[in-house]
Symmetry: D2
Subunit: 334 residues, 4 copies
Amino acid sequence: MRFFSDNAAAACPEAVAAIAAANRLDTAYDGDSWSARLDDAFSDLFETKVTSLWVSTGTAANALALAALCPPYGSIVCHRDAHIQNDECGAPEFYTNGAKLLLGEGEGAKLTPGAVTALLDTVRDDVHQTQPAALSITNATEYGLVYTAEETAALGELARERGLGFHVDGARFANAVVSTGDSPAALTWRAGVDALSFGFVKNGGISAEALIFFGEEHRQATLYRRKRAGHLLSKGRYLAAQLLAMIEDGVWLRNAGSANDSAARLAEAAGPERLLLPVEANEIFLKVRPDEARKLRDLGFDFYDWGPGEARLVTAWDSDPAHVDALAAAIRAL
Amino acid sequence: MRFFSDNAAAACPEAVAAIAAANRLDTAYDGDSWSARLDDAFSDLFETKVTSLWVSTGTAANALALAALCPPYGSIVCHRDAHIQNDECGAPEFYTNGAKLLLGEGEGAKLTPGAVTALLDTVRDDVHQTQPAALSITNATEYGLVYTAEETAALGELARERGLGFHVDGARFANAVVSTGDSPAALTWRAGVDALSFGFVKNGGISAEALIFFGEEHRQATLYRRKRAGHLLSKGRYLAAQLLAMIEDGVWLRNAGSANDSAARLAEAAGPERLLLPVEANEIFLKVRPDEARKLRDLGFDFYDWGPGEARLVTAWDSDPAHVDALAAAIRAL
Amino acid sequence: MRFFSDNAAAACPEAVAAIAAANRLDTAYDGDSWSARLDDAFSDLFETKVTSLWVSTGTAANALALAALCPPYGSIVCHRDAHIQNDECGAPEFYTNGAKLLLGEGEGAKLTPGAVTALLDTVRDDVHQTQPAALSITNATEYGLVYTAEETAALGELARERGLGFHVDGARFANAVVSTGDSPAALTWRAGVDALSFGFVKNGGISAEALIFFGEEHRQATLYRRKRAGHLLSKGRYLAAQLLAMIEDGVWLRNAGSANDSAARLAEAAGPERLLLPVEANEIFLKVRPDEARKLRDLGFDFYDWGPGEARLVTAWDSDPAHVDALAAAIRAL
Amino acid sequence: MRFFSDNAAAACPEAVAAIAAANRLDTAYDGDSWSARLDDAFSDLFETKVTSLWVSTGTAANALALAALCPPYGSIVCHRDAHIQNDECGAPEFYTNGAKLLLGEGEGAKLTPGAVTALLDTVRDDVHQTQPAALSITNATEYGLVYTAEETAALGELARERGLGFHVDGARFANAVVSTGDSPAALTWRAGVDALSFGFVKNGGISAEALIFFGEEHRQATLYRRKRAGHLLSKGRYLAAQLLAMIEDGVWLRNAGSANDSAARLAEAAGPERLLLPVEANEIFLKVRPDEARKLRDLGFDFYDWGPGEARLVTAWDSDPAHVDALAAAIRAL
């Protein structure tokens, strides 16, 4: 009974079926009929004209977005616990050709305008320092918190004032949409977001993520960057088909809803005393003594130790309700 | 009836089935049970211990290989018509951090020891010029010729003498193996090859290519490079499973054999007068007048114009025998 | 009696005196009073408002200019024999983060609109190829030819039509100005040039070159790029002072005139039969048999062998008239 | 009376004289007779065989050193207040092609083995994080503290244990040598240091810094890197001559001694209450109220405000004793 990562989950049937359905001769790269529908499909979803590109990983989406928003001699404001800082082996630095990440503070990997301002104010406006060019947040955060549309808009306004491009790492964007009840538009361009890494793999996809730019400005350069990074698959239709299958019938929302619900049930079982952070998406951070952790593992539950006396549990679109119930009961019984 | 690219072909049933078969929860990234079997499976195939990494594209495989073999201040000898020079939008330059490609001559995109030596001899051994660090050939070439084991070994010996790493872009390596009758080992490490981009997508895969290093030397660095390039998929098992499905039962050889056979039938129909180059793999380059090209298109055949009075036809693992017969007849009838 | 490189010459007295004159406490980096005068001094010289930056080498000037004009996924058209291709160990690739150089043909390292057009026409307009973004010529060329204002303007018009930034490597710009009799303005911005590497070191400077942009567009980014490349000297006044000393009293023209005159005398001595190329600046390429070369060396003349039966002689601002006379006589006597 | 930066000081007479003395024709780049003596001269100074390269700036020296010690997918441990982090506009990231800086804590910009260990222990040993490859300290630090030979050796031992290359940014290395009384050897290779950026410009040079590697390992690659970074001056003799003039007669020690003495006098005048940090080299950090700072400025003293209620004063090799006395008196009188 695995609760250690939504990355480890299976793919949802709609994604698998899409592979089979796309399995016929078509034009190569992104010239196929599935890829041709992407911009319209995502434009509908976001209620505005977007530029959309499929890529194979969230790291590629993030790094391409940041390379579009930040020059080599710029810097990117993000949280100290951001995935782009801690889990991408320097992909942002590689793709931007050496921009710096400026690391901000905030509980649950969440930035506030105050935290961003404090960080920006440490930078001297001279040629000896890389100048902030982009702000990147993760929604839902690496610690399972969400930014509401309003919170995002406050950061977006700050970004605009300070001349920063605004990127959202949405590896779990679906979970944030479901959790906040805010629309995709409200959580992005209406809040001043320029680029979104829209995650599908953690949410039931096989190998397709979407990089969304709100507007046309970064389209051309990013098409070239994607190619030279080796992310233009020759049979791109299998990626496009996955994305279409997951957004066109609301699969992405259903999947994320299921994961969030499972997490909520575990959170309820844990209770406020045991929770390190509120559970707003599909990650649960628990206080557990070593003997408690052992007990859970003895019962067959897999999860990560997160720190001394801490555990991370992650639910997924396909978390087995029986497993969730069993885990909830086990947590209650600790 | 499309003969314009093997990239446009469908995926073979074994690859599609592999996706479904791998569709269960497992460890993320390359920690899964399919990825764990890769090194052994490829080591068997190559009759030596290899390091193997899945990636999504041949461009990524090539660029990672070259980054392993060539420092930023080095240069890479390749043919003027090489894919790494003409079709990867500078991926080798991006991944190596700015190495130069030195462009050699030779019919049918094929390098000889003489051509390589001539090129190397143009380089001054001083700090003002990037020094040759790698040799890269494509087998089968971009023009459908193959290097035999013996020809490869002659280049490998030269590479060793001149201190060059030796890379083979094997986007159509399967076609070369079938065409030459030489073993994978004979065409690679026994001939002095250090790294192979082993192509599966043109040969019936969906989205998985293999980067093979002969030995352990470049493993660790390349794992980091793959990650920071955004090519470590979180559900890597779907790539590993495709590769295993295609090599473990000889599917890769059967597919390539079928493509080569189709090409041979078209070559025979064309006859030596009409062929621009010998047909040794699955590409056919024809002399065709504009009116002849139009006639073929009017009959429903798709292909690329390659130059004035030239056409490129590519067969694939799934070229329909009836279409091949029809095209052969049409060529004969020109 | 050395005629092998103007790089080997001494520095002119005005440059040396400038070091001493600048040797007092002032603001660091480019905040000093000499650096503050640069833009005005060069704007006067070029009869338009320019952005000027001192750097220590022509390679830095070239690479910074190209990084301003060409994105990482672009390419730079230049001559096959250009310094940026052959003598900078990949500096353009390093600074641009991996742009490609497209190598054109033409006698004496000189490009024509026809040669550039031919090269541009080989590039497919698709995402698989880096797209031409800049044109770079060297004036005077690596083979001592010059581009007149008219010739430059023809290339400038082509550059504009094709959307290319236009860079001039002017390591020997002074020699070209003197040789053509065209004004600095006519040879640059009036001819469509965006950026000039204005060489002083070969012309009698110690360690200062100027990077000139015509207009403000690239100023800010290039200031950052210069710093992060380690080219913002903390005592920049010693560079600025050299440049000012050499342009404010016409020293740069006098020095180049002297070098050109010396070369002209050698060319006259050689006669058309023996010259491989016309002598238009301060380089002379001669046909000399090995025994003739040996004879010249026995007489105490230093120069480079350039190819079988070829020699390169370079005059400098300080070529000793007696040495020039002696060499002229020796060439006549061959 | 300027006390705001040793970068703003004049050059010492020996350095200026060296320019004039080197002002004759010689071989270009680093083929001249001054450059040829560098390795021996520095090897004598360090009592071991070293590789030495002149460069124009400390930023270039630092970035080249780090590129030698750290791969693109590695990280560099340094202090949060290190020059390489705060004052080089991302030069380390540019030269290493995107390595990360890991920022440690410690008073006065000084790292301890404990601080470094704490930082290293935050890094997971997996492919998702850049792995520490180098340790860089600044001696004297950006806050004017020094590392003794013993302190350096403790860090060197840690570096060796953890497989890290060890770099010292010695922009003010001379001040550290004088202050500690330890030998250049004891402060570097005997303490496990692999590379030293040996500063001369702050200490009375014009435009020459030395990059020292202890051993041969990084020589070849760094020669290429220097060239492609545009740091191989064509008349390198003017740099080599400065360095030789400053080390061959102990000028560097005399200059640094003078600067340190001036600082010590100011520190004594200030007294422990007013000093933010001990004064161990040539920088003094004072607690001063705004009205006190104004009073000093009204008396004609220039210096930087460093933070609220803080001021930085820097002495130089040429600080006028009368100015130092005046400032000491003024501080006493506050």
